[in-house]
């Protein structure tokens, strides 16, 4: 293995120490290997070191530690000893009603956000395929704006717009609907969080779908049209199958990231309330960690969610590989 991956002659002559080499000939090349081969072997790792060290230190080390801490009872204070409790944390959180509620809510977030991340942007991208040039650039510029608004500003804007006497309730009032105080009442609070998150991601998802459509070779359509296929048939049998990688990608993103997308809004707008109806899994485990300082619960919940999402992601990636049509 090591021998196989040793560099070809061209690379071997190159590296640093030999920079000022005399007119090269066989004798010099024969002298070089001992030092330079070692260098050539080590070199890639040196270049990778900063990035890999960073990821190990800030992602993998804490992940392992989280697994370890999930078996202990601890309150985050350095002075308090950790107490081994085995699997108790897992069985405890599994029995917590808050936990079940947060999992169910997270499911609602995913379901509520799928239209904004997949269905609506796909339809918009398909309908606007023919728009091009300067106009397209202008629309794209507008549509992308919500992605750039900083989370505290997003929360402030929408809390203002969704005030009981704010612009949204006034507009709804003209058609005789009164949602009242969006963030204080049960079904409206989670709907509000979904709408705001939907506002943030829809425009961006449109751009992703537009990019996916742009990657589809127009010749398929033209060939099918020449054969007399209707527009609907072309859409159903050519465009949509070729777009399926994008659809699956956005679905995967929504499933994995909904709880993260909504996190800042929960913290700023509802704190999971009213009575836990907007709580999602990540906000719950954040509360375990930093409100009740229960490291064991927070860690056990982290491990459980990470494992569950890992299985989900692996399953969906397998699906993607099996059912996607690629344009080769």
């Amino acid at each position: 293995m090591l021998v196989e991956t040793a560099p070809g002659p061209a690379t071997a002559a190159g590296p640093g120490p030999l920079l000022t080499k005399p007119p090269s000939g066989p004798p010099v090349a024969a002298k070089a290997p001992a030092g330079s081969r070692w260098w050539v072997r080590v070199r890639p790792y040196l270049y990778l070191l900063p990035a890999v060290a960073g990821l190990v230190l800030w992602v993998y080390r804490p992940l392992v530690q989280t697994v370890e801490w999930s078996f202990y009872d601890w309150n985050l204070l350095p002075t308090t000893p950790k107490r081994w409790v085995g699997l108790d944390n897992y069985s405890d959180i599994a029995a917590l009603p808050e936990m079940r509620q947060a999992v169910v809510n997270t499911g609602w977030y995913v379901l509520g956000l799928l239209p904004f991340a997949v269905a609506i942007p796909m339809v918009i991208a398909l309908l606007s395929r023919k728009v091009g040039g300067r106009a397209r650039g202008f629309y794209q510029a507008l549509v992308f704006v919500p992605m750039l608004v900083t989370p505290v500003a997003t929360a402030a804007i929408w809390r203002w717009m969704m005030q009981p006497d704010g612009i949204i309730n006034q507009a709804l009032g003209t058609i005789g609907v009164d949602p009242g105080n969006w963030f204080r009442n049960s079904p409206t609070a989670i709907i509000a969080i979904i709408l705001i998150t939907g506002w943030q991601i829809t425009g961006f998802a449109v751009l992703i779908f537009a990019a996916g459509l742009a990657g589809i070779d127009g010749e398929y359509d033209q060939a099918a049209a020449l054969d007399g296929a209707s527009r609907w048939r072309i859409l159903r049998t050519i465009t949509l199958p070729l777009l399926s990688p994008t659809v699956l990608f956005m679905t995967l993103m929504t499933v994995l990231l909904s709880a993260q997308w909504t996190f800042a809004l929960l913290d700023l707008l509802t704190q999971g309330g009213p009575s836990g109806t907007t709580m999602n899994i990540y906000y719950l485990l954040y509360r375990f960690g930093f409100s009740s300082f229960d490291v064991g619960y927070a860690s056990a919940a982290s491990v459980a969610f990470f494992a569950a999402f890992g299985v989900l992601a692996a399953g969906m990636l397998t699906l993607m590989r099996r059912f996607s049509f690629y344009d080769n």
Binding site: T5, P50, V131, R134, L142, P146, L148, Q260
Partner: protein, 326 residues
């Protein structure tokens, strides 16, 4: 060129003479069309009605308009809340609650109130330094790593790639407690370093640059190697000048993400007002219903990113679309 681009390929004969010249112009070389397209795209596309009734009656024209309508509606829905934020922020206190769509009189009282209440200059500077440090760190680590991955074959390369890709799956919430403890052990709590250090490596950036360097012609590097240039010299003189757009994309993405990061800064910077996210958050709870001032503060917090966006719109959008969502 304008006329050529404006017409659909299969032009039904609308006017005798004109149609002939058109079909001659458009007919023969479809390949040229696409080449031309890049240059003239800006001129050609907006399908404005050209006074011809025949054109209005064509279904393709309506489809074109339909696309415009759909995109315009989405564009307005996307931008309205931001407009509303700035519109509210310049309304005098007595006008705020009347919800008129366009401010009838202007005032900067809200801004002066915010600037007097919050240490805004310091927060902006702190956040800027933080985001710039994250961007620089991200670029340096990503360029080095992606160069090694794209340039050389070595044992365990696949494992390292997998290690980098999989970090994408780990949510920040799963690592927050150990990282918080480490940061506090290092004595960095309540400092800007605490926010910067964990963010300077980004797997997405490494992968983005890796894709670009892999697409690079290998001959360029081989030629440089033959010239006896060291690997680092190649990276500096061959790769970097050619990689500038991608590096800009990575830097922009890192800067904006760091500026807008909420979760980690609010965790390690609880008391101090060094960062905009934390400062405005406390303002949000303390100022309750002073909507004009709140909108002014929120609007100021967004300004640097919006300015960057106005200046580099295309690059910003490209960077985000290429990186996926995160």
């Amino acid at each position: 060129m304008l006329i050529l681009e404006d017409l659909p390929l299969s032009t039904p004969p609308t006017g005798a003479g004109a149609a002939e010249t058109r079909s001659i112009a458009t007919g023969p070389r479809p390949a040229d069309r696409s080449a031309e397209h890049g240059r003239d795209a800006a001129w050609s596309e907006p399908a404005l009605p050209r006074s011809s009734l025949a054109r209005l009656l064509r279904p393709s024209w309506w489809r074109g308009i339909g696309g415009h309508v759909v995109l315009a509606v989405v564009g307005v829905l996307s931008a309205f809340p931001v407009y509303w934020m700035y519109a509210t922020s310049v309304k005098p206190a007595q006008d705020v609650l009347d919800q008129s769509l366009v401010p009838t009189s202007f005032t900067f009282d809200n801004y002066s109130h915010v600037l007097a209440t919050l240490p805004f200059g310091g927060m902006m500077l702190g956040t800027f330094v933080m985001a710039a440090a994250v961007a620089i760190g991200t670029v340096v680590t990503a360029v080095l790593a992606s160069f090694a991955l794209a340039r050389w074959e070595f044992p365990s390369k696949r494992i390292i790639m997998l290690l980098i890709v999989c970090t994408w799956l780990v949510p920040a919430q799963a690592t927050m407690l150990p990282n918080y403890v480490l940061i506090s052990q290092l004595g960095l709590l309540e400092t800007i370093s605490a926010v910067v250090v964990p963010q300077v490596v980004s797997a997405v950036s490494v992968l983005m640059l890796f894709q670009h360097i892999s697409a690079f012609p290998k001959e360029l590097f081989d030629a440089a190697t033959m010239d006896g240039r060291s690997a680092f010299n190649q990276l500096w003189t061959v790769l970097l000048p050619n990689l500038r757009p991608s590096i800009a994309a990575v830097a922009i993405l890192a800067f904006i993400s760091a500026w807008n990061e909420y979760f980690w800064p609010t965790m390690v910077m609880r008391q101090t007002d060094q960062l905009i996210q934390v400062g405005i958050r406390s303002f949000l709870t303390s100022e309750g219903n002073d909507w004009g001032a709140l909108m002014a503060a929120a609007g100021l917090a967004c300004l640097p990113v919006f300015a960057l966006y106005l200046a580099l719109q295309r690059q910003v959008v490209d960077a985000f679309v290429r990186s996926g969502l995160r």
